[in-house]
């Protein structure tokens, strides 16, 4: 799971506006989840084939004594050729810092994202639902670890990133600061929150930084199970008793706008975007992705027999897209700045889990040392 929104208020001086003009690179937007999976597969093929393409006129790359200008030209040429930057390549400091921040915050989102759903593991309505939810939450932990590993290739240690999260000095997606009040919320999270995450993440499979792109391909493949299980929960409830249908509708009502907010502020106010586009870390603007998500959800909601809580949602023949009501961006800002319904609870829970797990790490360390000592004795 993941959103774009944490890129909002931090250090950024002014808002670099990215309206229009950013032509869809690497495949245009598509409409349905199966198309999204096709895009993941296409990104994976492209990743394999990219290495065969040559970097314009600079096949050999800069030599050992290349100066910074030369290194920068080669870096730009690699990006322009849609090739991947790999960990030990020269890269501009800004590129490195941007990636560390984005990948770390993405990893933190996966880790904090275990909490809202973890809340329902012990109360899932059947053993099968419970097993599925456990597997899903375990996946989120796995996604967090893939991403921490990708961040580490940029020269930052996982322990440092974990400390930054625990200290509240790095952000995670604001969506996880909303509570899961009923079982239907687990369905709504799967359908809407994971759905929005997939729309956000699929273009990242083509990100210019190799380790991040590879981690995203892995994650996107696993994420589609998450979205379908959520959709199935809602479909079952929506076709169950009247009370169950009301519960499903209530969950969609509460999760719809926060899910739209996951794509971050409107393009006009979005920081970091322009540079990220140039570096091909990011390939579509927040508003393009949000629109794509809305267009997918309308049809899916009709199959569920549930309403999206937006009276102004209607097809715009001219734009060939749905007009919709924007989420409350003031609320998004408040939640990002720490004033959401569950911010303090999420942070406190993570700190407690880390502290209470210390003995496990210590025991593993002690065991490793004992084993190593025994090996030395045998050898001696």
């Amino acid at each position: 799971m993941y959103g774009n929104d944490f890129n909002v208020p931090d250090d950024a001086g002014e808002s670099g506006s990215v309206s229009g003009g950013s032509g869809p690179a690497g495949g245009g937007p598509s409409r349905g989840p199966s198309h999204l999976l096709d895009e993941v597969a296409a990104a994976e093929r492209a990743l394999r084939e990219a290495g065969a393409a040559s970097v314009a006129g600079q096949d050999a790359g800069p030599g050992a004594e290349a100066d910074e200008d030369e290194l920068r030209r080669y870096f730009d040429a690699v990006i322009d050729a849609d090739q991947k930057i790999e960990p030990r390549d020269w890269m501009p400091t800004g590129y490195r810092q941007s990636l560390i921040r984005q990948i770390a915050q993405h990893a933190h989102s996966e880790i904090i994202g275990m909490q809202p759903e973890g809340n329902w593991i012990s109360r899932a309505p059947s053993l099968q639902r419970k097993a599925i939810l456990l597997a899903k939450v375990q996946d989120e932990a796995g996604h967090g670890l893939y991403l921490y590993a990708a961040a580490e290739t940029l020269g930052v240690s996982r322990d440092t990133l974990v400390e930054l999260l625990l200290a509240g000095r790095q952000k995670y997606s604001s969506i996880f600061n909303y509570p899961t009040l009923t079982w239907a919320d687990v369905g709504a999270i799967g359908w809407l929150v994971d759905g929005a995450a997939i729309v956000n993440q699929v273009p990242l499979c083509r990100c210019s930084y190799g380790p991040y792109a590879r981690a995203m391909i892995r994650i996107c493949k696993e994420e589609s199970f998450h979205q379908r299980q959520g959709y199935e929960i809602l479909h079952t409830l929506a076709h169950g008793t009247p009370e169950q249908k009301v519960m499903a509708q209530d969950a969609v009502d509460r999760w719809w706008y926060p899910s739209l907010a996951m794509f971050g502020p409107p393009d006009a106010d979005s920081t970091h975007s322009q540079q990220s586009m140039t570096w091909r870390i990011k390939r579509f603007s927040n508003d393009e992705l949000r629109q794509r998500f809305v267009d997918m959800c309308v049809q899916q909601a009709s199959v569920l027999g549930l309403d999206l809580p937006d009276p102004d949602l209607r097809w715009n023949e001219q734009r060939q897209a749905y007009d919709y009501t924007q989420p409350d961006y003031d609320e998004l800002m408040r939640v990002i700045k720490g004033d959401g319904p569950c911010n303090r609870q999420r942070a406190a829970h993570r700190r407690a889990a880390h502290a209470e797990g210390a003995w496990v790490r210590e025991a593993a360390q002690a065991y490793a040392e004992k084993q190593a000592a025994r090996m030395r004795e045998v050898a001696a």
Partner: protein, 94 residues
């Protein structure tokens, strides 16, 4: 914290007949834990039939800065490829 836990690179053989490929990395206090963690992290969906874990510090890599000189000797030896040779007309199984 897991301070000082070494980094391990993880390689998975997806199926019999294929070689191990690098899939990512993880931290663990020793090789056995690294292997177990790698199983939980990288093969939750039967992605492999065999796993290698290698201490990242033990990996010796060529430097991207020396890419030029390091791989240069292979650049001018086109005769190492079969396509270099012209096969006379009529010669079969070549």
């Amino acid at each position: 914290m897991s301070d000082g836990w070494p980094l391990w690179e993880v390689f998975v053989r997806p199926r019999r007949g294929l070689s191990h490929s690098h899939v990512g990395s993880l931290h663990a206090p020793d090789a056995q834990m690294a292997l177990r963690n790698a199983r939980d992290l990288y093969t939750r969906r039967q992605e492999g039939v065999s796993i290698w874990v290698v201490p990242a510090a033990e990996v010796v890599a060529s430097s991207p800065d020396e890419k030029d000189t390091f791989f240069d000797p292979a650049a001018d030896k086109v005769y190492r490829h079969p396509t270099f040779y012209e096969v006379p007309e009529g010669a079969a199984h070549l």
